[in-house]
Symmetry: D3
Subunit: 81 residues, 6 copies
């Protein structure tokens, strides 16, 4: 089964901090299911990493999430390209 | 909607090369669906990156995928811890 | 100079493939200048990595760049959160 | 505008912990400006992630930053290659 | 020495949190030695980053390390492909 | 064995392209040995990824490796911090 032998996906999530632990567990379970199904690999070969970022550690358009929340900017601006 | 405003997940996949483009598209679509549902965020905020690795660029137990295929090693050895 | 001694930034870019080599060089030069100035560190400590992705290796809202170009989707949809 | 449609840079910074939040905000703003200008893309498509590392989580020449500070090693040794 | 001039390896570790600082230092020292020897580059060009993950930030087969510890699952299940 | 159960290191290498496949295999084998020994984990839990970069995809002090080779700059400049 070359396809299977060849695939041991490693998946890294970058998320803003603050999710409850229970949600992280559900995310790991659900994403593993989906990836295992789509790529046709055993769930046991799927590794998922979550990297949480502070509110000033992620920015869009040069403005961090913390700044957005302070300014109550309505979400992310329209992407003009 | 602070929860939503706070989340723009960036997801990086590390996969062995050789998947058809159609499968990559299905992977992007399906994983976006799952993540959007579990994290309760708009699909438009979900970014997915795929990094393909050559057969000698990924190894388990110090043995690259290429070596495994040559030696037709039956999958990955039992993880003893 | 603890500030300086403590900082050797490593910066990774994820870009869609297809940029001319000259632009990559300009990007490295200009970003190094900016980072060195903002963080007040010697340019010689700044390392920049560029990772190019294929047109089906990056997706927004579950749709790869290749699909967007085929469908001539006007850019990225409004982010609804 | 294929060039623009094709680029939504995702930039990851690895920095030693300890920078003030205000500096992170300035870094996000300034780097977004530079990248947007050099790559000729809308700032709204630029995402920047900062990953802070502890003093024993980054090393040069096998010596962590914490060890360097303890030994007050004068910066990074000459790179002999 | 083109080989040497061409190589400044940057190595990122993803580890479950909880290792003592002394072990991180030993890891940096020993891995730098090995990499420098195998790739024939000056140790001074080797940079190592360690990224620690929480017990719910890493999962195998959709089950986080925290869940494994709670269920005292005996290690990782056999990888069936 | 909580220590062991808690550790499945994932190690990512960023290297300039051009290493022979045999060297990548030796790197995977040797680094796995070292990491397994230092962290006291089973080699079967160690995963190593190699990401090769083009000569204009890695830069120090704003100058890519390709530029360095063209200008036959003697290695990396002294790090002045």
């Amino acid at each position: 089964m070359p396809n299977r032998r060849k695939s041991m996906p490693i998946i890294q999530f970058n998320l803003i901090e603050g999710r409850p632990e229970s949600l992280k567990r559900e995310l790991a379970r659900r994403v593993c299911e989906t990836v295992s199904e789509v790529l046709d690999v055993s769930p046991t070969t799927v590794r998922i990493l979550i990297h949480e970022m502070g509110l000033n550690d992620f920015s869009v358009a040069g403005m961090t999430v913390a700044e957005r929340l302070e300014n109550s900017t309505p979400g992310v601006p329209y992407e003009k390209n």
